[in-house]
């Protein structure tokens, strides 16, 4: 009994260390900012490596201890943040197969990326900024991966989103990265509304945001849906929308190639490996909710397969390696989502882990692709053959052309979102703004300027410009 208690306490300590190290790293960066101290590249690199390695060692120890002691699940409560008779806000982490797998993957890849980035970004003017955002991202990922309440997940989710967007805009002296960053932010914020509403609904239906109240107290993947009435399906739909936004599923896929504006290490870790799988992770966490409603599972399968097909087509015509890899990544994410819809949880998790590692490697090799290609040619003594799939040749020429156009335009998703959503909303608010200005001018008894076209906003131009 005493040993068991010690192990549980040790697990709690290690779990807190996993989260605590990124927090400490961020606090150090904050302190240097407030004290106006500039850290050298070496110091930053050492701090990051120490923090990530300690987190990784803690995660490995957790996994070993749990396997050794046969512990399937270990909750870590940080206490009740807010308790009122009407509202209960709790931050809680959980160590189980799913969370530990994902957090181990995160820390492993982050360690690799930290090492890679110290050389890749050497003497880059935004070296320090990159690692601050890296630390925010790491904290967000670890928080989301270990979360056992929807609030904890939401906190991590938002941190990941912000870090991603600011890294897309990393090379901010050019106009294109901030434009693309803003575009991705718009899609993230839109989909985060769904997660926020899901959190509210969970609170109102279950009285708390704990996932236990939603999917039972059993350890993953033996969760069972807890029937809570008609709200259950609504919750499922909201979670699927949130996941679709984060994982760039249809119809939100257009942000993924834009995200490639950032430095290669961030593209590798965020959009190739970790961030893009966060939606998958969410669906795995709440998979009993999908299982309880066959129609919802069917929607998830269709969404996953449609995204995979779309990404396959779009990826076939990309002319730069990072975009091609991004769409290849999305193809696999779509298939993983479909696996979740079919109820293959372990398969989906293994697929996720394998895919993330492979894609990180491919992204990190992307800057040396030409070099690799030459080496390959030298090795085989000839140019590699261009792959043409047999079914593509069997299609009639007009269909081939249409498909080509469709793929080249990335499914017209940008144009559709712009015409159907962004432009009407902006036009409406621009009209209101003109009325506001006329009213103010009338009150001030000044001459109204002649009607002019609305100003060219950064948002509109962001919609129009391709990455």
């Amino acid at each position: 009994m005493g040993t068991c208690m010690t192990v549980l306490q040790l697990l709690t300590g290690l779990g807190l260390t996993i989260v605590g190290m990124p927090v400490t790293l961020l606090l150090v960066f904050l302190a240097t900012f407030l004290l106006q101290r500039k850290l050298s590249e070496v110091s930053i690199s050492r701090l990051v490596q120490i923090a990530v390695n300690i987190s990784l060692a803690s995660a490995v120890l957790c996994a070993v201890l749990m396997l050794w002691q046969g512990i399937a699940q270990h909750p870590i409560e940080l206490g009740d943040w807010v308790i009122t008779p009407y509202y209960h806000l709790k931050f809680e982490f959980v160590l189980d197969v799913l969370s530990l797998s994902y957090v181990l993957l995160t820390l492993l890849l982050c360690t690799v990326i930290a090492g890679f980035s110290t050389r890749y970004l050497h003497r880059e003017s935004g070296y320090g900024r990159f690692f601050v955002l890296y630390a925010v991202f790491l904290l967000g990922m670890v928080t989301a991966a270990l979360s056992d309440t929807v609030e904890t997940l939401f906190a991590g989710w938002e941190l990941v989103g912000l870090a991603s967007v600011l890294l897309i805009a990393f090379f901010h002296s050019r106009p294109s990265p901030p434009r693309n960053g803003l575009r991705v932010w718009i899609i993230y914020r839109t989909c985060d509304v769904a997660l926020l509403l899901a959190a509210i609904l969970m609170h109102e239906v279950n009285g708390a945001g704990d996932f236990d109240h939603l999917v039972g107290g059993e350890a993953w993947p033996d969760h069972e849906a807890v029937a809570v009435g008609p709200h259950f399906a609504v919750l499922g739909v909201l979670f699927v929308i949130a996941a679709a936004g984060k994982s760039a599923l249809l119809p939100f896929s257009s942000w993924l190639p834009r995200a490639m504006e950032g430095p290669t290490p961030s593209s590798a870790i965020f959009y190739g490996a970790l961030s893009v799988h966060l939606g998958v992770f969410l669906l795995l966490r709440i998979s009993p909710v999908l299982d309880s409603a066959p129609w919802l599972s069917a929607i998830v399968v269709v969404l996953g397969l449609a995204s995979a097909c779309f990404a396959y087509l779009a990826g076939r015509v990309q002319t730069d390696i990072k975009s091609a890899l991004a769409f290849a990544s999305l193809t696999q994410v779509g298939i993983i989502i479909a696996e979740i819809g079919f109820g293959f949880r372990y398969l989906a998790l293994l697929h996720l882990l394998g895919h993330a590692c492979l894609r990180t490697l491919q992204f990190l090799r992307a800057p040396s692709m030409l070099h690799d290609h030459h080496q390959l040619e030298n090795a085989i003594g000839t140019r590699p053959r261009d792959e043409e799939l047999p079914w593509e040749q069997k299609l009639p020429a007009p269909t081939q052309l249409r498909l080509y156009r469709f793929a080249l335009e990335r499914g017209y998703l940008d144009a559709l979102l712009e015409k159907l959503v962004a432009q009407p909303v902006l036009a409406m608010f621009n009209t209101f703004n003109r009325w506001e200005q006329r009213w103010a001018l009338w009150l001030e008894d000044e001459q109204a300027p002649p009607p002019s076209k609305p100003d060219e906003l950064a948002i509109v131009s962001a919609m129009r410009k391709q990455p």
Partner: protein, 445 residues
């Protein structure tokens, strides 16, 4: 006797500062006003921590109760930061006096338990922006029109039996407060004010949110629920509408004004929920919005004092010159929209949760407003701080005063997030007391 004396001294401190500014040479005005406001902040924190609950001043008109005690340091901080962020070139004696008067009047209003005095103080605060507009030779017509409507409605309310709490009396008072608070459709004065007056004066007029003070002190237990419901819908519309307008602005001052309107509308909406959860959210959001918006205004003012008025339709690329301001802009902007880890997170969560009692569509609308605000803030950030790097022949890095402000705001935005559990707990008890669910406001802080 001692607590009464201390409270009276604290409330009189800003007015003593005004006297100092008037009596001493103009060169001393800035130092006197800064010193007074710093002392006022220190005194407010000390009063919150050490003065007994419900300390009464010597005239027995002003009480430091559980509502006022934590808000007083927030108000003091807002005034101090506003003053710290003002460029020396525009801090005339008049400006210093107005800042001190604003601090004094808002502190008096916060502690005031006499509704007529409270309403009189509310009217008096209107004079400060008007004074500045006249002093700067700017047109004050829009402001005067709206504030005249506010005063007329206030007068009509008093004549219609506010004392007896007749439905007409309380309804007219609510209308008056909505005009002063800039709730849709009576919001147009605020962008004009922010464009014509200095950020400091405009902010100190808007951010103390005196309207909410009157609602919770005077109206909330006596006004018919249907009136609050209608007002709540208007606040909700205002929050989304102004967030949308913030998104399409090309002038920084108008962007900030609409963002401010959207945020204050959210606080007012929370009060209009007239539930313990809603009022708790309002009391927490009141503090976090004040801090967040003050910080945002601080960075904008510091930026405009260097580069002049800026447009949001191009990329200015100021990050490399003033990275501190860029970071401040981002963190305070995100705190305004309730980003995790900042002071705004828990209040926004409370608001969303409280709003569900009115239906999921209400929560959805609030989430829409938060989404639009978040997009507007990042758009403004990218516009101001990214783009081609500007070359200047002189250093434009932040000054010592600005550095102090940045440190103070950053610590509050992140530090206050960790203090939230105890703060929320006390705000919840206060909310119950205000709603009459607990007998008195004189419980432990």
């Amino acid at each position: 006797m001692m607590p009464s004396f201390l409270l009276t001294s604290l409330l009189a401190l800003p007015f003593a500062g005004v006297l100092g500014c008037l009596l001493l040479h103009e060169a001393w005005s800035l130092r006197i006003s800064l010193g007074t406001l710093a002392l006022f902040l220190f005194g407010s924190v000390a009063a919150m921590l050490w003065l007994p609950v419900a300390a009464v001043d010597v005239a027995s008109m002003f009480v430091l109760d559980t509502l006022a005690a934590p808000l007083l340091p927030v108000f003091a901080l807002v005034h101090l930061l506003s003053h710290l962020g003002t460029a020396k070139t525009v801090t005339s004696t008049g400006y210093c006096i107005r800042s001190l008067l604003a601090a004094g009047l808002s502190a008096l209003a916060l502690c005031c338990h006499d509704e007529y005095v409270l309403l009189a103080l509310l009217v008096l605060t209107v004079m400060l922006p008007l004074w500045e507009l006249r002093e700067r030779g700017r047109s004050s017509r829009t402001f005067v029109v709206y504030m005249s409507v506010f005063c007329l409605l206030l007068g009509a309310s008093l004549l219609s039996g506010l004392a007896e709490r007749t439905p007409l009396g309380v309804g007219l008072l609510l209308l008056a407060l909505m005009v002063r608070g800039g709730v849709f459709p009576a919001h147009s004065w605020m962008p004009v004010l922010f464009t014509s007056a200095t950020y400091g004066t405009s902010l100190l007029f808007v951010l103390p949110l005196m309207e909410i003070l009157v609602i919770v002190r005077v109206l909330i237990t006596t006004i018919p629920a249907w009136m609050l419901d209608i007002a709540g819908v208007l606040c909700l519309v205002s929050a989304v509408y102004c967030a949308g307008l913030a998104l399409v602005q090309t002038q920084v001052s108008r962007f900030f004004a609409f963002l401010c309107l959207s945020q204050t509308s959210l606080v007012m909406f929370a009060v209009m929920l007239h539930t313990a959860n809603g009022v708790t959210a309002a009391l927490c959001l009141w503090m976090s919005a004040a801090l967040g918006l003050t910080g945002l205004a601080f960075s904008i003012r510091a930026l405009e004092s260097r580069f002049g008025a800026m447009s949001l339709s191009e990329y200015h690329g100021h990050y490399e010159q003033v990275p501190g301001l860029a970071v401040l802009f981002l963190i305070t902007g995100l705190a305004c929209v309730g980003f995790p880890g900042t002071v705004g997170f828990v209040p926004m969560e409370l608001l969303f949760s409280g709003s569900y009692e009115k239906g999921l569509w209400v929560s959805g609308t609030l989430a829409l407003a938060a989404m639009l605000n978040g997009i507007a803030i990042l758009r403004a950030y990218f516009s101001l701080f990214t783009g081609k790097r500007q070359q200047t022949s002189i250093s434009l890095s932040v000054t010592g005063r600005e550095r102090a402000g940045i440190v103070l705001i950053t610590l509050m935005v992140f530090g206050a997030a960790w203090l939230t559990p105890s703060v929320v707990d006390s705000r919840h008890r206060t909310a119950e007391e205000l709603l009459g669910l607990q007998p008195t406001l004189h419980s432990a802080r």
